[in-house]
Symmetry: C2
Subunit: 409 residues, 2 copies
């Protein structure tokens, strides 16, 4: 049941593509590196006797028909693009794990009722155009012409990059799949956190993908001389921002599930002896329960406004992004948990704080994810690491779940 | 008693030198602009029948002998250099006010016992070399060869800039004055704060010049994915820094006199969806009572270390500057207060949070300062403003104080 050695060898081979001299990999969408990665993946799909095709958005898929070719397919997916200084597992594990599952099915001569397909989505990371999940958006038919105008750092819009890669942006609608054509979506992915490591477990059952709200908070106070303005006469924008950061931490923690992060902060005028007159900070709030997240956000806004009002500081909120969480299908979670139990692993449920293509595919069909333990929780970094054994275990769980969902009469 | 019209006219004339097209003045030390300003000031000194000289550090002085030419002199001082986008009063008011006092004494034929001297110190602001009070340091003999190696943005050290301006850095020691040669130092300066405006008073009696401690705090935590790291598993360097900023505010305010300011903050890596792994921030702490300031600093350090220890965050303190406060002479304060009463102004005592040349001159002789009301407390800005009437009132108080300290037998 699945060839861990072969999976590991393919992970290593794929890791050679886009390798940077200074360490890490860089495989941006619609570049020669991404093309080379997809070509290698297509060759593995052929070794697995899959029917290989690439759709209008550049999504590369390999399909094995079921007993009933008209039945909705079980889709396994992930991506082969990377961030600018990425590791070897985020994305590749899901694509190569899916191929390994299908090659095993082929080698064992198993006949499933439903077709099974594995897909490498175009540009999940968003590292090139600051718009991620391009391929999975296209699959749902929701990738707009507006989206295709996002530009990279050199001012090249997605539509131009597509043309340069031999794709026709006018036809991107052709990549859309109907809900009727899909029975389930499955993704095997590294956790990118430390929860499984802390639990001593190789794999976990994902409960859902948290929906992020990204806000920008602008504080306006009054700049002044640090020496000549008594504490009681100040309207210090940074002191107000510090109080609000404390509120974010407190309100997120009090829910038990929401995470709240201030990752960016800018202070004006920024002199060592000048009271800050203005501050801008970012806020990333996530939860797999939208109501819990939105209540935490409401409390943060309310308390931040109270603090700023008390301090004579102007406060405004800008919204950069607001995505709903995507819960995983109860049925798929149960199937994954059963597979874990069969392999003697305690089924452990955990949310995905990071976004994945499944957020979009969930609009078409039930979605489920299997997480594999990450060493030290490190990701988006050359130090990203999951052991050979854990990758093989994750692939086994995927295999058992696929067989269950695809059916064997 | 003093010609307010003449003082105002000279303030306006001096403000034309170094005027920038975009507004504000820029008169950096050892530049043609500063030279032109000193030349104009020297011409006013000559109009006041003063003996004009420039010392080895470029300090420009005008002296009027007393009955006893060997008696220690009453020195009036300030500066004519400016910050990069400065106003018309910070510095010039003290120099031109001092000349106005001496010209009035000359015109009225008053004979003082002690000599009276007015000096325009070289580079008080520190805008060019990030080393301020160059001229007053030289006066105390404490300007070292090390100090002269401070470079401007173009990599020109002070010693080179001095040579280019016709001064010999080897001879800077010649600018030193003996304590025996000085009876008192007086400075007329704008408040650069809003205290007098709030009190409805044109002038105030300075109690002392606060001593600044400048620290750099470095927080080291652990960067991580904003979505995949639960609140309880974080070592967020910015969340720790926010708590410490709250502590700074609280401890400074609790003393009633200390001011504490975080004016700069930098966050690494600075991604909107990445938990900050490192933060650096600046801390400016001042008080005119050194013991109060140092106790506040001790409490801040102790509580910051407790907070960081609890959060698993590394914290280190770097010291950029530590100057003792300079208290004003009780005798001079009493003399200024008596002058205020004579002019029908309630004597109001207030500290100087900003640094001034008097901090250094106080090492040689008793020091006192007169503050003039600043509109909206704005300074180091083209909007810096004190009314003609307030400037004249400040100059009158200076005149009466000089006559008292210089003696008339």
């Amino acid at each position: 049941m699945v060839d861990g050695e072969r999976l590991w060898k393919r992970l290593s081979e794929l890791a050679e593509i886009g390798k940077r001299e200074e360490g890490g990999v860089a495989r941006f969408s619609f570049t020669p590196e991404e093309r080379a990665a997809k070509n290698l993946v297509a060759s593995y799909m052929e070794e697995a006797n899959l029917a290989v095709r690439e759709d209008a958005a550049g999504n590369l898929s390999g399909r094995r028909e079921g007993r009933d070719p008209d039945a909705p397919a079980v889709l396994i997916g992930s991506h082969v693009d990377s961030v600018s200084n990425g590791g070897d597992f985020d994305g590749p594990l899901g694509v190569l794990g899916g191929i390994e599952v299908l090659q095993t099915i082929d080698e064992e001569g198993v006949q499933t009722d439903r077709p099974v397909e594995v897909v490498a989505f175009t540009d999940e990371e968003g590292a090139r155009f600051s718009l991620g999940m391009i391929g999975s958006r296209a699959l749902t038919g929701m990738l707009s012409r507006e989206d295709l105008r996002h530009e990279d750092r050199d001012g090249v819009p997605i539509e131009q990059a597509m043309r340069d890669a031999g794709l026709d942006p006018e036809k991107v609608g052709d990549a859309a799949r109907s809900p009727a054509s899909l029975a389930a979506y499955l993704e095997l992915h590294i956790e990118q956190g430390k929860v499984l490591e802390g639990e001593g477990l190789p794999v976990g059952v994902v409960t859902g993908i948290a929906g992020p709200v990204w806000l920008r908070l602008s504080f306006s106070g009054e700049a002044g001389h640090a020496g000549t303005t008594p504490m009681g006469s100040r309207r210090d924008a940074l002191a107000a921002a510090a109080e609000v950061m404390g509120i974010v931490e407190e309100e997120a923690a009090s829910t038990g599930s929401t995470v709240g992060t201030v990752g960016q902060i800018e202070v004006r005028p920024g002199g060592i002896n000048i009271i800050p007159g203005g501050v801008e900070l970012s806020l990333d709030l996530r939860d797999i329960d939208e109501a819990v997240r939105d209540r935490a956000e409401g409390r943060i806004r309310e308390r931040a406004e109270e603090a700023c009002g008390r301090r004579g500081i102007g406060l405004s909120f800008g919204e950069l992004q607001r995505l709903p969480p995507a819960p995983c299908s109860e049925e798929i979670r149960a199937s994954i948990a059963a597979a874990c139990e069969r392999e003697g692993i305690r089924p452990y449920a955990l949310p995905s704080g990071a976004g994945h293509d499944g957020m979009h595919v969930a609009e078409l069909c039930p979605m489920g994810m299997i997480f594999v333990r990450s060493k030290d929780g490190i990701s988006h970094n050359p130090k990203e690491w999951s052991s050979r054994e854990d990758c093989e275990t994750g692939c086994k769980i995927l295999y058992l779940t696929v067989l269950d969902l695809a059916g064997q009469t």
